[in-house]
């Protein structure tokens, strides 16, 4: 039963999925960070998350908080600390909805 339902959910909003996986031309700030000119929102999230993990940027006392380094600060509104919970929303800011 379950896979059918999931399939249905995916089929129901192809736009949402497209919005997540379509390649987008990046603004220059993000281009510097990911090192390529096009990426999907999902790809960008994965990139940032693995960057955080690779550079041990999670606060040692509270894993839910990320202490941004200079590079990360530049793409996350210049904040020195962000919460992991906000991360998807912050990244979404770089991917504005396309005007119809």
């Amino acid at each position: 039963m379950l896979p059918q339902r999931v399939k249905k959910a995916v089929a129901d909003n192809p736009k949402k999925i497209a919005n997540l996986i379509d390649l987008v031309n990046l603004p220059s700030t993000l281009r510097d960070f990911v090192g390529q000119s096009q990426i999907s929102r999902l790809g960008c999230f994965t990139r940032v998350w693995s960057y955080i993990k690779a550079n041990n940027l999670q606060d040692s006392n509270n894993k839910n908080v990320v202490n941004c380094d200079e590079k990360l600060k530049r793409i996350l509104l210049g904040r020195s600390q962000v919460e992991l919970a906000e991360l998807p929303a912050l990244i979404k800011l770089h991917f504005p909805k396309e005007p119809k």
Partner: protein, 466 residues
């Protein structure tokens, strides 16, 4: 519910469905076809065959180019000390057909019989060309390629038989050309031979997947009147399964009465299918009704019956009844398996009795019944729903240790439970695991995580969450 005998399944369907990608070394596939007629189980591999098998180990053919293949074949003929066997030639042709177009394969066959007069294509040669002809993406073209191969076959003196039809139908259906398969079967029934029950039932099953019910009935009627092919018990089981899946139990009941009128006695499979239908709709009393009817009709319930019944009763919230039937099951000599226990656990979790479910896991271990990934996922789901996150995390650790996959529903519940407690970093870690273990696609996993976090941020703003 397709009940194709295993011997047939191994010979026809699996080898056809598992169409080898280009990169795969050409090993097993050809050999399965070498034993004709294919409805027999492969005999022991002879020494000569091992020889040809060894030849097939290396991917001889890499390019789909016809001239390359011709050249390679010429060089093989020149290098061979003994005359090449039909078997070798067939394997060669099959390897080429797997990576090339039907037209080119047929050209190669012509070339092979021209350069090597001793090679006379046999029935199996055509049988192994057929699936490749059926698989071409444009449906209109595939049937013409099939016709071409069949004509060639008739010209060489082989009348297409039921095996031929079966191969063609199965490959056409697995490539999604069901309508073409029907057309072909009709054509063959007129010209050569009627489909056997296996082909017929397979076709009915494929039709059920793609067409509306009335059109399937039309097909059955047409075959009854024009070709004198009657639906049998298996056909009815397939139909009943289909209507049960579309939640049309009234039609299922009607089909059972039709089936009885036709002189068939419903067997265990039919009853299990209907019972499954009721269980899907959480109709516990009706499921018990079917069980009683089975007893009245003198049909002995099997393992599947009991598992279905226990699943249905748990699903409709009647765990105590489910336990009762667990006892009946044991009394009748069936040992409950992981499916039985998982169904019961599901019921207990639904009732909110999560600890009961955990106890059941212990009981499973005592009874030496190995829990499967579904068991663990059910339990994880239940623990998170029942606000026993710590236990859930513990269980997740166990799952992770053995690399068990996490199902969509349990993943979502688990991530939500973690976020609700403000343990976002752990939720991220679960996200990583779900993607790494290939349990979910990254899109699905991310969508869940994102929407959960969105909800969390909102709840925090309203002062509702930590």
């Amino acid at each position: 519910m397709g009940r194709i005998p295993p011997s047939l399944r191994s010979a026809v369907s699996t080898s056809l469905i598992k169409r080898a990608p280009d990169s795969q070394p050409l090993s097993d596939q050809p050999r399965q076809f070498l034993h004709k007629p294919i409805k027999r189980k492969p005999a022991k591999v002879s020494a000569a065959e091992q020889e040809s098998g060894r030849l097939q180990q290396k991917p001889l053919l890499k390019s789909p180019d016809l001239n390359d293949a011709k050249k390679l074949f010429n060089s093989l003929v020149a290098a061979a000390r003994a005359p090449l066997e039909v078997r070798f030639n067939n394997a060669f042709l099959q390897s080429y057909a797997a990576i090339s177009t039907p037209d080119n394969s047929i050209s190669l066959l012509h070339h092979m019989s021209k350069t090597l007069p001793s090679f006379s294509p046999d029935r199996s040669t055509f049988h192994l060309l057929l699936p490749h002809c059926c698989a071409s993406p444009e449906s209109s073209r595939s049937l013409s390629a099939v016709r071409q191969t069949l004509n060639l076959m008739v010209n060489k003196g082989f009348d297409p038989n039921q095996v031929t039809v079966d191969i063609a139908v199965r490959s056409l259906c697995s490539a999604g050309h069901v309508d073409e398969a029907v057309e072909l079967v009709k054509e063959m029934a007129l010209k050569h031979c009627k489909p056997d029950t296996y082909t017929y039932n397979f076709l009915v099953k494929s039709l059920c997947k793609t067409r509306v019910l009335s059109s399937v009935y039309g097909f059955i009627d047409e075959f009854k009147t024009s070709f004198d092919v009657e639906p049998d018990l298996i056909t009815y089981t397939i139909l009943i399964d289909n209507v049960c899946n579309s939640r049309n139990l009234r039609e299922a009941t009607r089909l059972v009465s039709v089936l009885k009128e036709c002189g068939n006695k419903p067997d265990c499979y039919v009853y299990n299918t209907i019972m499954k239908g009721y269980c899907m709709l959480s109709k516990g009393s009706e499921a018990i009704g079917i069980y009683k009817q089975m007893k009245e009709d003198g049909v002995e319930p099997d393992m599947v019956t009991y598992n279905t019944l226990i699943f249905g009763l748990s699903k409709s919230g009647r765990v105590s009844d489910a336990r009762k039937y667990l006892k009946v099951m044991v009394d009748n000599g069936y040992l409950p398996d992981a499916v039985t226990y998982t169904s019961l656990m599901n019921g207990l979790c639904r009732e909110g009795n999560v600890m009961g479910a955990v106890e059941l896991l212990e009981e499973m271990k005592v009874k030496n019944c190995e829990p499967n990934s579904c068991t663990y996922n059910t339990l994880l789901h239940g623990l998170c729903k029942g606000r026993m996150l710590e236990k859930g995390i513990e269980l997740y650790g166990l799952m992770k240790q053995v690399g068990m996959q996490i199902e969509t529903a349990s993943y979502a519940t688990f991530v939500r439970a973690l976020c609700r407690e403000g343990r976002v970093a752990e939720a991220y870690e679960v996200f990583d695991y779900a993607v790494e273990s290939r349990s979910l696609t990254d899109v699905a996993a991310y969508t869940t995580l994102e929407s959960t976090l969105k909800w969390l941020v909102k709840a925090r703003q309203q002062g509702l969450a930590v």
